[in-house]
Symmetry: C2
Amino acid sequence: MSNAIPAEPRASQAATRRQLLSAAAGVFAERGFRDATVREICRKAGANVAAISYHFGDKEALYSAVLRETAPPPAGGPNAPGNAADATLSAEERFARYIRNFLFQIAEDGPDCLHSRIMAREMIEPTRALDHLVNDFIRPQHQWFQGLIREITGPGFTVEEIRLIANSAISQVLFYKHCGTVIERLHGSALLTPARLEMLADHITAFSLAAIQTLALQRGPVQRTARPNRALRPSTPSRTRLTR
Amino acid sequence: MSNAIPAEPRASQAATRRQLLSAAAGVFAERGFRDATVREICRKAGANVAAISYHFGDKEALYSAVLRETAPPPAGGPNAPGNAADATLSAEERFARYIRNFLFQIAEDGPDCLHSRIMAREMIEPTRALDHLVNDFIRPQHQWFQGLIREITGPGFTVEEIRLIANSAISQVLFYKHCGTVIERLHGSALLTPARLEMLADHITAFSLAAIQTLALQRGPVQRTARPNRALRPSTPSRTRLTR
DNA sequence: GAATGTGTCAAACACGTGTTTTAATCCGAA
DNA sequence: TTCGGATTAAAACACGTGTTTGACACATTC
């Protein structure tokens, strides 16, 4: 037993482990933890089923490793969702970007979307990893989003009311991910095309901003202090493309 | 072999079959088709596992029978969702009732809610029964709801736009059903209490009506022909309890 | 070149699932 | 009472799942 740490224990060691992680991320995102089979993961990774036990311990430990590996970098604090934190933009424009980012993250199938897709899966089919995901990702993002909404509403809303509004906006995005099958049956066309995603993001933004601004108006227009004209003007971000 | 048709083949025959249907409805609604086990169903029905094969054929046929048995009666046409079709009410009030009925139907656990709960399950975990459910229940209800929304918006919206608005409203309701676990983790309190359901229904109604009326206002207030004052007034159904 | 430890593989294992088998039981009809 | 079909029950079956086993190949080290 040499005291020297084997920095690179084996060339192939890291290779199989990496391919296992990559294949597992895709299968977990596509099927969820429960319906993902170790045999499919290993087949796509070109490895033997025993490799999971050898490199990770068991299926659940592999799942945890996938969550750890695919986790997005902090990128200036845990609460910065993509490019929606640009301080030079108005709150409404940041809202539009957040919705669009969120929708594309969970609907597209690029390698950057794996973590978001797995989280969307966890919401409807929780595993023991849910607590960790809530604390490290979902709650910070939700808090950040609630702060953004309060910028638009102005004061006069309780934290509970702000939370309900945030849920109303987010639920529209998740709906197209979770209920995609039934929506496609309902009006018989593919949902995931980029063009349709753009349209969906525009609608959800327009619908939600219209609701938020009207609720703020009803609650008390005079309480609005910061940049009141911008918030009260019923802007139509669904018509004027903000992003891209 | 007697030619006389055995109108009541056996007293216990119908009994086991009925108890099997009842138990299966509860288990299917609670766990979904996939996670429901025939052994749990039979244990709750006080029957042997072979009874499913004997009385129905297999698990899937039992599921179909449950859907058939728990289906709500037409009740004046297939598109009348509960008491939300009362023609004496304004469109906004019928909207509020529809949202409230929908939310309670999928969140509560009474025997009348089984079919709705199973349908909510089908949306995120479809089975081969989905096509039938879409054609017979989901699509008619969705069409009815879109007609209701068009009453509020007035003309000037395409069918696609109306459909998006309907989805935005429905998605908020389904969110609390499908993502209940993560929401409870997020702010650590039970979601399903009747008091909280009332509050959720009020919020979703207020949020959605605010959005719809504002979008209609932006689109073109002059196009509104029927009862314009009622639709344009930003009523606050979240404050004035409409139902109950 | 032999020894050692690491990584891999096919096969087997343990377990839960839906389904079927086979015999026993029930109950009305003759 | 006896017969015969209908119904039930326990056990076994077939299959897919995650996991483990034991042998094997390979590179490194002595």
